[in-house]
Symmetry: C2
Subunit: 250 residues, 2 copies
DNA sequence: GGATGCATTTGTGTATACATACAACGATTT
DNA sequence: AAATCGTTGTATGTATACACAAATGCATCC
């Protein structure tokens, strides 16, 4: 969500976008619900022009879809949609890893990734892992994924991965906090970290297929977390964008 | 590029978008060149509000990027960017084919795809293949790919494939017309059609990995065409969005 | 000649008025 | 009672004015 840094203070457009996004993610605006411009003007306090722009941006982000008769509607996502979105991201990250491996990456370019790996190793060395450590993991994990994506040196792919990761539940750390409530929380982090380790090794050794395969499997950890969290039905508050997820009575 | 059908006649926003897109693809607006709102107002004849919306849509489409100081700039694409974009699309279509194979598709659902396949077979039976036949192939090929994407029954993936295919050179038929000028034109079509045949077979037989692999290889035909066309240096007029492609002196 | 400050010009963000299209409701006709 | 038509209200598309920020040009000073 890199926005150009033209707004010294928060612009009305960004203000409206943030407010609307919050309403969507918190459930104030429910899936399937129609949003009209004028309604959004009232709830955000911005005037129509920035509201229109904000609505289009949120459409682009994936939270809204345009209605033929005008206006926008909050999207709903099935469990399948979410797991597909995660697998999609994994597929793209796998491609990024393969590109990196095939095209070669210098030791210097790999250094930030290895530092990130080491920092995560430090985190995982504490037993049991604290909630704050989970929070730190989220940050480091996001950084790891961002660095890996950049290694592809493919602007079109980087752009597509950013888009594929835009929704909260599709991001690399989408379910880590929800995971923290699970009994096997630490085990899953350890497995995920092993994937990080393997992909670095694969890239270093120019093993494209291996790099791709491990990142695709890596994404499936998030799918597993999703399933566990939905089955568990406790700590659902930790699920990102829970309000957008259709219930299984669909 | 499905736009909601709210505009009985062409709206000013769409008019501006079409005009700007044309200027970009024709080279009137060159890669790297900055577009200001007011300039776009002059060249499109629409007023600022629809022009702004059009610029944002074109950014989303991938033809423009926002400049930190304001305004937009026409993107330039290297040969690598284009081949990466094609491979990206192939990877996503491969995933769609795998989903279809894994989840199962009824014979009825496969029928339109088979009809498309048969129509392309008809086309390819003429020797040598005429230019009009190439044009018909483009239409049928696009239809084939759209039908295949829908078979995934994964809205997030369908959306991502549409986006990945938005730029002219990244679409499934991006280089077919340029290909028509090559000596081995018909051979490449025959090979591409074989891929079509194989992916249907793979889906029918629930062979997910095979379906995925063949679609990924299928996309590489377009990469081959790109390379041939750029090396050949004749009939460059048939290359989509040639104006956006950086020269090899980069 | 180079640096700085000020004034002017240009461009973007925003607000709002006007025009048009669509949806909803009530009255009339079949 | 159901269908149709006309009117009214609501929402969207567009145009444009105002406010503010950034860029440019010019004059002055060191």
């Amino acid at each position: 969500m890199a926005e150009r840094e033209v707004d010294r203070s928060v612009s009305q457009t960004v203000k409206a976008q943030l407010a609307l996004r919050d309403q969507i993610l918190s459930g104030s605006l429910r899936p399937g619900e129609r949003i009209s411009e004028l309604q959004a003007v009232e709830t955000t306090g911005a005037s129509r022009t920035p509201v229109r722009m904000a609505l289009v941006r949120l459409e682009e982000e994936g939270l809204l879809e345009a209605i033929p008769s005008g206006g926008f509607m909050v999207k709903a996502f099935s469990e399948r949609d979410i797991s597909d979105s995660i697998e999609l991201r994994g597929t793209l990250e796998g491609l990024a890893a393969r590109f990196a491996a095939e095209r070669g990456v210098s030791a210097r370019e790999l250094e930030p990734l290895k530092e990130c790996l080491a920092a995560i190793d430090d985190l995982l060395s504490q037993v049991p892992i604290s909630i704050e450590a989970f929070s730190s993991y989220v940050t480091l994990n996001a950084r790891f994924h961002a660095l890996l994506t950049e290694l592809s040196r493919s602007p079109p792919l980087i752009r597509q991965i950013d888009r594929a990761s835009a929704l909260p539940f599709a991001s690399p750390s989408g379910f880590v906090m929800a995971q923290s409530a699970l009994p096997e929380a630490q085990q899953i982090l350890i497995i995920g970290q092993e994937h990080h380790r393997v992909v670095i090794d694969a890239i270093e050794n120019r093993e494209g297929a291996r790099a791709e395969a491990v990142m695709r499997e890596h994404a499936r950890l998030a799918v597993r977390n999703l399933r566990l969290a939905l089955r568990n039905r406790t700590h659902l508050d930790l699920l990102p964008a829970l309000a957008l997820i259709k219930t299984t009575t669909d």
